[in-house]
Symmetry: D3
Subunit: 132 residues, 6 copies
């Protein structure tokens, strides 16, 4: 149903297939999900996206589960169904508990609500919230 064909390993060229192999190796799985197979229609875009994703989502000052929750928050607000599904699955794989998921939902809902109120009322930013 995508706007481009999902590339199987056979249909993908060498550059895309190398990325597929790297995904399988790094994730320790046989499975390459549809997002990457769709991106494979442009191997350079596939490669750039996969490489940047690894850098950004690696453990650092924030732990990977926190990063997945932030990803879900953005994806929800953007209304990206695919992304909500895939990153919720990723978060669960990284240990997201039911209680954490519930609180994540509550914060996303609260922010959506106060965002709308601040915008509808056009509240001006307090001087103290600005960086000098």
């Amino acid at each position: 149903m995508a706007t481009v064909p999902l590339k199987s390993d056979e249909a993908a060229g060498a550059e895309a297939r190398a990325v597929f192999d790297d995904i399988r190796a790094k994730r320790n799985t046989d499975y390459v999900n549809n997002f990457w197979r769709a991106l494979a229609n442009d191997p350079a875009l596939l490669k750039a996206t996969w490489e940047r994703l690894q850098q950004v989502m690696a453990p650092g000052a924030l732990d990977p589960l926190v990063k997945e929750m932030i990803y879900i928050a953005v994806s929800t607000t953007n209304g990206c169904s695919y992304c909500v599904h895939s990153h919720t699955a990723a978060a669960k794989a990284k240990g997201l508990t039911e209680a954490q998921h519930g609180e994540l939902m509550a914060v996303i809902a609260m922010a959506s609500q106060t965002n709308a109120l601040a915008t509808a009322l056009q509240v001006e930013t307090d001087e103290r919230f600005r960086v000098a």
Copy 2:
């Protein structure tokens, strides 16, 4: 510049002023920020919003700093300038480091990018990402 007047303590009625007092007490500050002063035009909405916010942002399965980062992610994606400013200030007050802020930015940017790609390509959700 708001679409409603910001209510000073004097201009606010008793119900709104009681919320202002509770904000000052709970936050241990003299300052009531513009968002609440704008909401005070409808004291029932002010009260409901303030009470729900406290419940949602309290420590629980997620720590308060993580909640603030999720709030920033939603507010950014919704393009709420006021909310980005106020919750970035709140996150810093709760200990957000420069390194954490940088990684938060990187995750928000990455998610925004792959959200757009998944939507533009209309990638169908993989069966394994669906809950039975």
Copy 3:
């Protein structure tokens, strides 16, 4: 601060000035607001937009104040600061009361919140909500 100059009556060509005159006549005012002066950089777009707006916002099956509230709801969700300001002013000119404004805010906030929840949980539409 716009990305195009705001056209004064003098700077506008005959086609744009005719629209300005029509706005003043229909609204019974001397004032032409910035939106139209910005659009006047493309007189055909100005004319098409002004004509369509009059058709859409005229009294019909819905009364004009209800239409303004719907306009505010869309403008808030799109984060259009200009539009929130101008249509809140228009709604007040058409009789929007403080109590109505407060309830409008509450509905917008509620919808924003449940929209986020339905999207974050990827709730499937119930069969009974679909049109046969």
Copy 4:
């Protein structure tokens, strides 16, 4: 297809089931729609959302059908498929006519269009639209 299981009455705990019962009683129906069954994974969130929804959507300064139309406007702009479906059904149940639905569509379309223009041209808000 949700990211969480939809809780049947049997699978739901006592707190969630009490909300289901209240929904059935208040709406005078046997049916509990998927949104609530998804929220039931976090009974506290389910309860808070249901209670607030009743307060907000009750008749007041705005009539319930107007509130449903505002809800549809927000849900459309947020791109929430579930919410558009459920609130269009709710509006029809509250008497939305074909002519009203058509005008609602026209206003939503018009606002979306002028929102985009005002943002693309970065039109500055007129002084007279600001509250003193």
Copy 5:
């Protein structure tokens, strides 16, 4: 699955059928796509939308393929699945190559990413980007 019935030629009234006939004639096809059949529930809205679309998408200072790409960019950012599908099909019919599609995806992704960063950091517009 729409919120309104899709009008067949038989179910449509004379005004809507005239638009259907015009679509078939102008596009040199027997096929009228679902969007128009849904809009046909409000013949005046159908007619206004179809007429404006023809004006806007006609060759002019921008060529029709460029216009389709801009349409895809907006539709993606709004998360409109129907529109992404229909305008990607339209762009391909107008000659969009795989390489162009890939670059379109890359620009949309890049813009989404820097939009998020500029908003999250609340970067103030440089004086030199403002029109005098």
Copy 6:
């Protein structure tokens, strides 16, 4: 007014200053705009963003002016004021004419309008728009 300080050349570390120098050299200007000075708070993010931007916006299957128009379309829909300003300036520098700007506005407005209609009516995608 940003949520982070804008780094001057003096305040920036060696890695950020090297990016500033590269921006000046590649753009043949003395000026480094605020976006990059804000990003400089995280030199790695600054570098990755600048490098990717150059790759994506370089001439290829699409010419740079078309890419700038796509960028404006996305930025408008996301409501990013900074980005609309900076990329409209960039498009003008690359030769955008008034007539082209007007048509760009008209297409963005048209797409915003039909996006809203397709979503509000929940129109199902025609089989023929799907890729096999």
